[in-house]
Symmetry: C2
DNA sequence: ATCACTCATCGTATATTTACGATTTACGAT
DNA sequence: ATCGTAAATCGTAAATATACGATGAGTGAT
């Protein structure tokens, strides 16, 4: 055998694994679960749920993470629709979106 | 300003972010959520929960993924204690661990 | 012992996630 | 306009996750 055969291994790209065939409910649950899949994001959600409606950048002070990192986690939660934020003067106020959290609970119960 | 200042950026290693201070419940919920954070793993859990107690490698046939990939996902679920597998002759039988799923539900409800 | 089969593991390529300094953007106050 | 504060974004380093071919380990049958 030629030892230098290029072989041309065709490797599937990650975003198109084989057929992309997953149930919508599975995709939805996985996306929500993944958004919860980091202790900082769970901590943020708990903070927001506990301390009433919405807290602002005080979140940063209560997490062992730098401000950009927290901002990034907030973005993940926002993109999963688990929280929402509104500008309030110079600050931004975040609050949980209970309907999405409940949606997650429902999907988990239906599992 | 000197344009070639080396600056010597000290970057924190990923496994010791700043203080590693997260609530145990947050860590536990995040770990379980992360294990559910992939549609294939949700699909596997649903399969096991739906089709009675335990199915074996038929899982591979019902997923759009190669066998080693499925095996890897099974390992993730096993390590999260969400499923368990026992050897049955030449095959391996997996089943859901309902107590862990319920634990996840509880943690989510307490959020 | 050999074969066929099932499943786990290894090696590795690629993609994504996580973290943070530096910078930018936006706002209110002066 | 400038300043100070709050938060997002940029750029990037490092870690982790995902996928799969190749290989190994285990079993039952021949």
């Amino acid at each position: 055998m030629s030892p230098s055969a290029p072989v041309a291994r065709t490797r599937r790209t990650r975003s198109a694994p084989r057929a992309a065939a997953f149930r919508p409910a599975d995709l939805e649950l996985a996306a929500l679960a993944r958004a919860l899949g980091h202790p900082a994001r769970v901590a943020i959600l708990r903070m927001l749920a506990t301390s009433g409606e919405c807290i602002c950048g005080g979140i940063v002070d209560r997490l062992p993470l730098a401000q950009p990192t927290v901002s990034q986690h907030l973005k993940v939660l926002k993109e999963a629709d688990l929280i929402q934020g509104e500008v309030e003067g110079p600050r931004v106020c975040y609050c949980v979106k209970p309907e999405t959290v409940n949606r997650l609970r429902t999907l988990l119960n239906e599992l």
